[in-house]
Symmetry: C2
Subunit: 191 residues, 2 copies
């Protein structure tokens, strides 16, 4: 109830609530307006383009918050492998514990999968780069870091959607075993 919460934040919070209650496909602008106590007109002023833009804004906010939480949770690492394992384990665990996401996968599977692959993955990778590149570049070059973050993001999401019998990225030991060969050839401890 802090008055510092912007109107946009209140609308996006309301949208989130509506999605939880009624599912992605059933939310209307009127629902969000009622829930947020912001008029429909103001919502359209806030998100020119309407529903799609508002939904995209929520996804961007959620993605940001996801990686903010990750950055706050990362401990000091002594190698790229160590850092990668921390990232993969945190991300996998968070995804598995995200009740909204799990519900979405159960009730609106097609939409949820698109959001984690074709539709949403580019944005996820962009945000991941913004948050993780400064950390990753402690071990590798910028250009390599970009490709490495891209790779890890894809692998984590893929293993979340379709768990492998060979590896559990939610388990540190298993994740380490999995990533070791991938980073071995450039894993240089920071002297």
């Amino acid at each position: 109830m802090a008055p510092t919460r912007t109107a946009e934040d209140r609308v996006l919070d309301a949208l989130d609530q509506c999605i939880v209650r009624w599912g992605l496909g059933k939310v209307t602008i009127d629902d969000v307006a009622n829930e947020s106590h912001v008029s429909r007109a103001s919502i359209y002023r806030m998100f020119p383009g309407g529903k799609d833009v508002m939904f995209e804004a929520l996804r961007v906010r959620n993605t940001r918050e996801f990686f903010e939480g990750m950055r706050a949770a990362l401990l000091d690492s002594d190698s790229l492998l160590d850092l990668t394992v921390q990232i993969a384990v945190y991300a996998t665990t968070e995804l598995r514990n995200d009740d909204n996401l799990v519900t979405l996968l159960a009730t609106e599977e097609a939409t949820a999968i698109r959001e984690l692959t074709v539709d949403g993955l580019p944005r996820i990778i962009n945000v991941a780069s913004a948050y993780l590149l400064p950390i990753v570049t402690a071990y590798v070059s910028h250009d390599f870091g970009v490709r490495f973050v891209d790779l890890v993001a894809r692998l984590v999401i893929s293993h979340f959607l379709a768990p492998s019998s060979l590896v559990d990225l939610g388990d540190p030991a298993s994740a380490r075993e999995f990533f070791a060969p991938l980073v071995a050839f450039i894993d240089l401890p920071v002297s």
Copy 2:
């Protein structure tokens, strides 16, 4: 998955699922058809009149199951007061523990309240009479029993929707204290 489950049961189960997922007001016949794997045409054949009739069928089934559960849970009683307390406590507890109902009251309050008052109460009282009259008439006449079941049903629902500071019908002692004066003048142990 028992093959004995009728198509109607499967449709009503699907409807129940859809309501849980999407809320009363957002369920479409197509949702139910997909969820139940019964075609839309068959649903209309099954419930002539469409959506309203199907919803009413589910409410009837739910009400029946509620009172079947109650009848199975009732222990032998030695007086009308004792029986009344058992009924009130069971009903109140069940209502409070009904997750679907609680969710409905949180997200679609207006509809949920109508369902427990103006719209649904006549049906509830009818079913309550059908299940409880045979038991109640151990202590009182048929005509009095009808009016008594009606009275108890109204009181339980009223106290569920608007809890009183004077009495908690979920608590046996409190319920006994509350009902004692109401049944005192006709409470005749079955000699």
